[in-house]
């Protein structure tokens, strides 16, 4: 029955449609993918904090008021997490549970800026550029690196 439904010719036609690449993007995607392997982190005892919450995704197509968007992101590597509040001018962050530490922002070109988190885990970052970034956080007890994200 399946064969009648999708004979070889149909299957190939469907495959051709699926593989269509009008913008000739595929070679670029492959090249990007190859290059990115160099960014693999290989340090032991470095927890990966996944992007578990992004306010931008909660109501992605909601029409916002004229006011500026304040974006909230949460990266989780239980028991530690990092919360970011991002506005156009600045980025503030909070290590949870609150603890002193240091935070390094990385771009694909390398480390960008290093700041200290205060006694209650609060830190400020300058406005970050367009490209992907990730944060490395180190407290007295844990080390984590967040997922890559564009802010």
């Amino acid at each position: 029955m399946h064969d009648e439904l999708w004979d070889d010719e149909r299957l190939l036609r469907e495959l051709a449609e699926a593989l269509a690449d009008p913008g000739d993007l595929l070679p670029l995607l492959v090249r990007q993918g190859y290059e990115i392997f160099g960014w693999r982190t290989v340090e032991a005892e470095l927890a990966l904090a996944s992007l578990d919450f992004d306010s931008r995704l909660v109501e992605p197509l909601e029409v916002r008021s004229q006011g500026e968007e304040l974006r909230l992101l949460v990266f989780n590597a239980a028991p530690l997490s990092v919360e970011l509040e991002v506005s156009r001018q600045r980025v503030t962050g909070q290590i949870v549970p609150p603890s002193r530490g240091c935070v390094v922002v990385e771009t694909t070109a390398g480390p960008l800026v290093r700041v200290e988190a205060d006694d209650v885990g609060f830190f400020r970052l300058p406005a970050l550029g367009e490209g992907p970034v990730r944060l490395r956080c180190e407290t007295e007890t844990s080390r984590l690196v967040t997922d890559w994200v564009r802010l």
Binding site: A18, Y34, R56
Partner: protein, 214 residues
């Protein structure tokens, strides 16, 4: 000749190896295994990007973020099928983020129907179905061994190259193209995502939506 000798060397998985072995090797830091995964699943990533109709530069940004993130998450992908699903989910989410960001950048009237319409095909149901077919086929394609995969990609170009050209490009005898093609298509049909797709398609044929073109 077709890469098999290279792949068999050392501790690398063989061409026929199950997907999870490639994933495990890449997670251990094997660059060749990583490249194999990129080769296998770039078409799927592209397929997801097409679903969201991003500008070209936006699509490139999303792809970069997805690859960067996949490198770090490889170690968590235990099931063979987890990888294509991970790509679909992560890329889909990043596309939505991108759409939300670009929508935010330009003030828009909530009643701007023309802009809304530009995001979807004239027939949204058909559009979603096509995207699902595309992603199922491309997920399955990634599970095929290299030789079969490359052959199907060549045969799916329009117009397809002649058998003698295929023979040259893939390094297989003209006489074995037909049988390889048959095996590859059989294997594609047997892959879980395509099986699910075909099972779903049966009621259409049975008349539930018999008005659809055959």
């Amino acid at each position: 000749m077709d890469g098999e000798s290279v792949l068999s060397r050392g501790s690398l998985p063989k061409e026929e190896s199950a997907l999870d072995e490639w994933v495990a090797a890449a997670a251990r830091g094997d660059v060749r295994a990583w490249q194999e995964l990129v080769d296998r699943y770039s078409p799927l990533l592209l397929g997801v990007l097409r679903r969201y109709r991003l500008e070209r530069a936006e699509a490139e940004d999303v792809a970069q973020t997805v690859w960067l993130r996949l490198v770090e998450h490889l170690g968590e992908l235990r099931e063979p099928r987890a990888l294509p699903m991970w790509i679909c989910t992560t890329a889909g989410r990043e596309c939505l983020r991108q759409l939300a960001a670009s929508r935010r950048a330009v003030p828009r009237d909530p009643l701007d129907d023309a802009w809304q319409a530009s995001l979807v095909e004239p027939d949204p149901v058909d559009d979603v179905e096509r995207a699902q077919r595309r992603e199922a086929l491309l997920s399955a394609l990634g599970e095929l061994p290299e030789k079969q995969r490359r052959l199907l990609v060549l045969l799916a170009t329009d117009p397809p190259p002649s058998y003698s050209e295929i023979s040259q490009r893939l390094g297989i005898a003209v006489g074995s193209i037909g049988p390889t093609r048959a095996r590859a298509l059989e294997r594609l049909r047997a892959c879980a995502p395509v099986r699910a797709l075909l099972d779903e398609a049966v009621p259409h044929q049975a008349g539930a939506r018999g008005d659809r073109r055959a």
